[in-house]
């Protein structure tokens, strides 16, 4: 019986590997948008961290979330895969539609959401007791995949997509923590890619990296956006300008302005945006 469950899960994962992302479940959701966020508000206890945010996130593009510390950037990005629920006393109002499907519906399993919407954090966090190879395929193993050939193929594919294969292909059995900081971050990206998500969320993915490692991650983001929808939080205005197609500026939990990055960084519509990006805030 256990084997049957595993084989079924494995087959569904393998089938998903062959299939393009699922189409929207609701007709009103435009194909060009992966996420539709509608009147989203989030509280941590009494504190309102996100205040009535409505925003559509384009498919196969990079959306940068900018704003001063404490403005709700990380809460917002975490709300896109329900990661913020790990914080106690969290309350959500509004809707987050992923391909038209409400992520906060009672029937939706948060674990499935997190498989469809992967996340890379500020500080690289490979599992310290696992090898490089194990780190990449751990998500698949947790989903019950046991087919070694499939796992090997996915391991190589994920590492290649994360532009790390050539650097680690002979060291797959070494600990993930033996890699440099930049390599560890790309390992985490490979780990996120291995379960074939539709979206990758990145919370300041380069803030702890040197300029060379940062450039590699930025190059990687540029290549990945042809296949994935990417939402990234960054404090680096120049990085937001380089890598993103759209930029959202948050302040005090509210979305102040959202638009094409070139517009935001040459002629923002809102004075608060202008003051923030030009360094006049405060």
């Amino acid at each position: 019986m256990e084997n049957l469950v595993m084989e079924t899960t494995e087959r569904s994962v393998m089938e998903r590997a062959e299939q393009p992302p699922a189409p929207p479940l609701h007709a009103e959701a435009p194909m060009a948008c992966t996420f539709q966020v509608k009147n989203l508000s989030i509280w941590y206890g009494e504190k309102r961290a996100i205040d009535d945010v409505t925003l559509d996130i384009a498919s196969n593009g990079v959306t940068a979330i900018i704003g001063p510390s404490g403005c709700g950037k990380s809460t917002f990005i975490r709300a896109l895969n329900r990661m913020h629920e790990l914080v106690p006393k969290t309350r959500v109002e509004g809707q987050v539609l992923l391909q038209g499907e409400d992520l906060y519906s009672n029937t939706v399993d948060p674990a499935i959401v997190r498989r469809r919407v992967g996340m890379v954090f500020q500080k690289s966090n490979p599992f310290p007791t696992m090898t490089i190879g194990e780190n990449v395929i751990v998500g698949l193993r947790l989903n019950g995949v046991r087919n070694q050939r499939f796992l090997d193929e996915r391991l190589e594919k994920s590492l290649r997509m994360a532009a790390l294969w050539d650097e680690v292909k002979d060291d797959l059995r070494k600990p993930g923590t033996s890699l440099s900081g930049g390599q560890q971050q790309r390992l985490c990206i490979a780990r996120a890619l291995a379960v074939e998500p539709e979206v990758i969320l990145m919370d300041e993915p380069c803030s702890a990296l040197d300029p060379i490692a940062t450039a590699k991650i930025e190059e990687l983001i540029y290549e990945l956006k042809t296949k994935y929808t990417i939402v990234t939080v960054t404090h680096n205005m120049q990085q937001a300008g380089r890598i993103s197609d759209y930029t959202a500026f948050f302040y005090l939990g509210r979305l102040i302005e959202f638009g094409p990055t070139t517009k935001i960084f040459t002629n923002p519509s809102e004075k608060q945006t202008e003051d923030y990006i030009t360094g006049r805030f405060g």
Binding site: G241, F265, T266, N267, I277, T278, R280
Partner: protein
């Protein structure tokens, strides 16, 4: 509305220095054009020589503004209105340098004219000069005060300058046929007229850059774009 200062005080200082150098360059260019015209009308070689000598200082300021602009781009990576102001300042300095070159050319032509008997047709140049200088001053004012309406109003005024230049050119060519002994003199006046027409073109460029700096709108080549 008062624009708040940057958190980085050195950024404000660098932007202010860049702007001050542009305004200083504009002032020197204006003075150089005035001297060149004075040398032409008063037949004064000394003033012409001063106008020609002015060019060196203006050239140095152009280099300084370019250097300061690049330094700001490198050190502060400006965006939005700051970026537009830096880009506009660098483009302005290029236009001002070309205007100063026009002043030098006018002064040189004036010195050549001064070697021969005076020509009454110098009077044809005066309205062109007045119009070109009015456009120039308004375009620089518009940049300095970020006055988008004033900047927009400068652009169509270039047509009148073109018309004045064309009419003056026709009259001078006619005079060449009537009085071939003064052919070189009339030719020099045609070149002076062309220089002033170019001053109007550069004033138009400055006005367009002023609109871009203040309103992030590119109003260049709009007539051509419509006709395509």
């Amino acid at each position: 509305m008062v624009t708040p200062k940057h958190i980085l005080g050195t950024f404000d200082e660098a932007l202010a220095a860049l702007r001050n150098n542009v305004l200083m360059m504009a002032g020197l260019t204006e003075r150089s054009l005035e001297r060149a015209m004075k040398g032409l009308v008063n037949r004064d070689d000394n003033i012409c020589a001063t106008a020609i000598a002015d060019d060196e200082e203006i050239d140095q300021l152009e280099k300084q503004i370019d250097k300061d602009g690049v330094d700001i781009l490198l050190r502060f990576q400006p965006v939005a209105s700051d970026l537009r102001r830096v880009v506009a300042a660098m483009k302005l300095s290029s236009n001002l340098e070309r205007m100063a070159d026009m002043a030098t050319t006018i002064a040189r032509r004036a010195r050549k004219l001064n070697r021969h008997p005076s020509l009454a047709e110098v009077d044809l140049i005066r309205p062109m000069y007045d119009h070109a200088m009015s456009m120039f001053k308004d375009s620089v004012d518009a940049f300095a005060r970020e006055d988008v309406d004033l900047a927009r109003a400068v652009v169509p005024r270039d047509q009148k300058l073109d018309d004045l230049n064309r009419m003056a050119g026709h009259k001078l060519v006619d005079r060449m046929a009537q009085d071939p002994h003064q052919l070189r003199g009339y030719l020099n006046l045609i070149f002076v007229g062309r220089c002033l027409e170019r001053v109007g073109d550069h004033a138009t460029n400055i006005a367009e850059d002023a609109v871009y700096a203040a309103a992030a709108e590119d109003i260049r080549h709009q007539t051509a774009a419509v006709s395509v």
